[in-house]
């Protein structure tokens, strides 16, 4: 039966309710097993030696002393992870990032690893490994790295996307451009133009659970990997390819995951753990320390962005232009490209142009972080939009409403929008009580909009009906924040049964077909689509079995509220058969009943949000306090509203940290100076107020229930909303994130002095 994914309006029974999640009790009793909570018999402890230099040639590594230490079972270097990537440049970069080959490219870059009988021996062994480095000049700042005299990080990189093929290598890996119309002409029609430059510093996803895995390679060539990941199927492919294994022989089980936010979509230590296990012939557990998490995993890009926007007196934007430079770490990525696509996505623009530059620096390889690249672009654009509204003496909300994209608008990155939520979120904000709350002295209010694409992708689900009528749902998208509850609700909805009759699990890579990562807010969107399809397939079988039990044609059997019902005059005296009754007879009517689904979920449906916040600034110290915060976002359809609110609040809190506190601080020596939660300070409970949420539901036409991804958009507006609030409170435009007290104070003093 062909599955029709289109939205069809319906009255929901289960979807939209707020039951307790199926994995909840294990998580409040300490029983849930995360990456580091798993052990195997005979397991060794793995540890990684990391470069203390930002940029250095590795002349020689002498591991002989470490190998001789009692209790050391394996020592590996890049030589133990030979290059099997066969010209695949992206895979080569992953390999090189897991274990430096010829050069260490950042402070924290792995250069060797050991497996030993205990942690103490492993630590001792690391100290016995001698690495001979030739230190090279380094560069960690995105703007400096673009200069002609900057130290070259990779001399095989020539900028892509330029009209003329460059003759000299460069730290700029790629130029990308988006837009339409003629911005030059557009600015010609503007009465007011705002032009500004902005900077944002690098931040880390900051998941509380460090990367952890247990790898076990057997002598028969099979292997098991237990790991905290957002995508165990992708980890399997990457690890298998890097180790020269067949993917089917590597079974990857995703543990409970203690936060990811994009940071657990990339392999880091897993190939190293597998290589150690292969060499030692024993299972190896490898858990990163917090210091390693900061120095060698994550983070997001640091950016430098120029924005220019022009408008007519009536408030119509005539042209918008941005140049965006994103740091990628030492390997090519497409972070600037994504930033350039999202920058003006909220607006209806006749003339728009964005140019992105992807820049190599001696910092860790940039990883996805919740709506990657979008928050920084939104910070720059939404700050300029606010300033322009001021020049026009227009209310910032009204100015945005006037220029907001609508259904049918050609987006700044190309596609034409379907039904979208930017206008409705702005209208909701305009009418929100928060906008009328009184502001005290030194307090300012700011608002801003944000956009994210949302992903769909490959998804596979198994729905098995037990003989007792209970239903188990096996999904392949990792549950990062309550998706098992949401997917159970969806299955309950479709089957017409009670939520308590269902249990959802995340299946390992050998038990289910391939699934893409849980990234791009795709988990609930795509797996719910597959769940609906699997349930519909199961219903077809349930109807067949009921027809058999009644001895009538299946065409006369319909499925209503969890029951098979015989339709038609002639069947008037047949009662109903519940799912449970049909399941109980399944052994006699053809065996187990199940529904499967394998699909590519298309049309994830773009997502928009508008945030409001009130900030108090102490003009004497530059310190800030968040007074009120409100998130308004379109969810398409909120499957489990409480977890949707949770996503909104969590994204906002991360954005608040990014806007006000968090940043990677590098010394002149190119070393990270704040690789710990004490000095890299994420928001704590006492830093934040309650975070108010408003869920709008503008159905996604490409999902049967109208669901859109909800996980990421909430981190897009906060940087800008807070910058606008701080600027209003302090009376000076803030252009550098984070707005830490010294930066705010400097801005206030410069304004006073100037």
């Amino acid at each position: 039966m062909n599955f029709d994914p289109r939205f069809s309006g319906r009255k929901f029974a289960s979807v939209g309710t707020r039951p307790i999640r199926p994995d909840g009790v294990d998580k409040v009793t300490g029983r849930a097993r995360y990456g580091a909570d798993f052990n195997m018999a005979g397991q060794l402890v793995g540890r990684v030696l990391r470069s203390p230099h930002a940029h250095a040639i590795i002349r020689k590594i002498d591991t002989s002393k470490a190998e001789k230490l009692a209790g050391v079972k394996a020592v590996i270097t890049a030589a133990d992870l030979p290059d099997l990537t066969d010209g695949d440049a992206a895979m080569y970069d992953i390999l090189d990032n897991c274990m430096a080959r010829t050069k260490a490219l950042y402070d924290g870059h792995a250069v060797a690893a050991v497996a030993a009988i205990d942690a103490r021996t492993a630590r001792q062994a690391l100290k016995l490994i001698e690495v001979d480095y030739e230190i090279l000049p380094h560069v960690t700042d995105v703007d400096e790295a673009m200069q002609h005299h900057a130290p070259l990080i990779n001399d095989t990189i020539f900028t892509e996307g330029l009209e003329e093929k460059p003759v000299k290598p460069s730290n700029v890996t790629k130029r990308s451009q988006f837009g339409h119309g003629d911005v030059h002409q557009g600015f010609g029609h503007a009465d007011f133009i705002v032009e500004r430059s902005f900077k944002t510093e690098q931040t880390h996803q900051g998941y509380i659970e460090p990367h952890a895995c247990v790898a076990s390679v057997s002598s028969d060539g099979t292997a098991d990997l237990w790991v905290c990941t957002q995508g165990h199927f992708v980890y399997r492919q990457h690890c298998a390819q890097l180790l020269g294994m067949e993917a089917s022989k590597l079974r990857v089980t995703s543990s409970e995951i203690g936060g990811g936010f994009g940071g657990k979509t990339h392999v880091w230590a897993e190939p190293v753990a597998l290589a150690l296990s292969r060499k030692a012939g024993r299972p190896v557990k490898l858990v990163m320390t917090r210091d390693e998490v900061f120095r060698a995993s994550g983070p997001t890009s640091a950016t430098s962005i120029d924005v220019k926007i022009g408008a007519r007196k009536d408030g119509t934007i005539t042209a918008a232009e941005a140049t965006l430079r994103y740091s990628a770490g030492p390997y090519a990525g497409s972070w600037a490209e994504i930033g350039a696509m999202t920058a003006f996505a909220c607006y209806k623009l006749d003339n728009v142009k964005t140019v992105g530059y992807e820049v190599l620096v001696n910092r860790p390889k940039t990883a996805a972080y919740r709506a990657p690249s979008a928050p920084m672009a939104a910070f720059a654009v939404e700050s300029a939009v606010d300033e322009l509204a001021k020049e026009l003496s227009m209310d910032p909300v009204d100015f945005r409403i006037k220029n907001a994209a609508q259904e049918g608008t050609r987006s700044s990155y190309g596609p034409v929008y379907g039904p979208i939520g930017i206008g409705p979120t702005l209208e909701a904000v305009k009418n929100h009580a928060h906008m009328k709350a009184p502001l005290a002295k030194n307090q300012g209010r700011g608002m801003a909009c944000g956009f994210w694409f949302n992903f769909g992708g490959q998804t596979c689900v198994d729905l098995n009906i037990g003989m007792d009528g209970s239903v188990s749902l096996a999904v392949g998208t990792v549950d990062v924040g309550g998706s098992r509850a949401s997917l159970s609700l969806v299955a309950a909805e479709e089957l017409g049964i009670d939520y308590s009759q269902l249990k959802a699990i995340v299946a390992d890579t050998s038990s289910l077909g391939y699934n893409d990562m849980t990234d791009g807010s795709r988990g609930t969107f795509s797996s719910s689509m597959a769940t609906i399809s699997a349930a519909r397939n199961a219903i077809k079988i349930l109807r067949e079995r009921a027809a058999q039990m009644w001895d009538i044609s299946v065409d006369d059997v319909v499925w209503e509220q969890g029951h098979a019902v015989a339709k038609g005059e002639k069947h008037g005296n047949l009662g109903k058969l519940s799912l449970k009754e049909i399941a109980a007879e399944s052994g006699k009517t053809g065996g187990p009943i199940a529904g499967h689904s394998e699909l590519v979920a298309d049309g994830a449906g773009v997502s928009f949000a508008t945030h409001i916040c009130d900030i108090e600034v102490d003009p004497e110290t530059g310190s800030t306090r968040v007074i009120r915060y409100t998130v308004v976002q379109d969810a398409g359809k909120a499957v489990h509203p409480t977890y949707v609110e949770g996503q909104y609040q969590g994204g906002a809190a991360q954005g608040i940290g990014w806007a006000l506190n968090e940043e990677y601080i590098y010394g002149k020596d190119g070393r990270l100076q704040n690789a710990g939660f004490l000095d890299y300070r994420i928001p704590v409970c006492s830093d934040l107020p309650m975070i108010d949420t408003q869920i709008l539901e503008i159905p996604n036409p490409n999902h049967p229930y109208g669901v859109r991804g909800v996980g990421e958009t909430s981190i897009v507006p906060p940087l800008a909303a807070i910058a606008n609030a701080v600027s209003n409170a302090a009376g000076v435009r803030m252009t550098h994130i984070p707005m830490s007290p010294p930066r705010i104070l400097a801005a206030i003093e410069a304004e006073r002095g100037g």
Binding site: T29, G30, P210, G258, R290, T642, Q649, F677, C685
Partner: protein, 158 residues
């Protein structure tokens, strides 16, 4: 290196173990005793994921040595429920969805239990400051604070 013999009480049960002099109590709980409810988020006392109650004091078990537990009384998340009866805080955390990934949850539950033991009727601000030693990256704390408020309300009535 010879181990140190320790006798202590964990969740009401007398427990004995050998540990190295430089081994943290967190490592002992997790690696020697299989009590993996306490998590290591940082190992430096900055995240609270490893929170336990040691003789009525809330501590980061990553900052306590295993050997220091001799003769003392330890409470961990594994001891919060009575049989299949969840502690009110555990129940309220579930009802309010005060966890997303849940890695911080054991630490928050222990810290909240300690807070309510000392202050059964905390204001929102007292809750926020009382839990400021525990990091959560997923929730923005809103639902955690509400769960603790609700639990305090129920526990007062009980």
């Amino acid at each position: 290196m010879a181990g140190i013999a320790v006798s202590t009480t964990i969740n009401g049960d007398i427990t004995e173990y050998l540990c190295q002099p430089d081994e943290t109590l967190l490592d002992v709980l997790r690696d020697r005793l299989g009590l993996t409810g306490a998590k290591e988020g940082c190992g430096t006392g900055d995240c609270g994921a490893c929170s336990i109650i040691l003789d009525n004091r809330l501590v980061c078990s990553c900052l306590v040595l295993g050997a220091e537990a001799e003769g003392r009384r330890i409470e961990t998340v594994e001891g919060m429920a009575h049989g299949d009866q969840l502690h009110t805080l555990q129940q309220k955390f579930l009802e309010h969805a005060a966890l997303q990934c849940g890695i911080c949850t054991p630490g928050f539950l222990i810290a909240a239990k300690d807070l309510l033991a000392k202050n059964p009727d905390p204001s929102e601000e007292e809750i926020r400051f009382g839990l400021a030693g525990n990091l959560c990256r997923c929730t923005g704390y809103d639902k955690i604070v509400r769960a603790v408020q609700d639990a305090a309300h129920v526990m007062k009535g009980a």
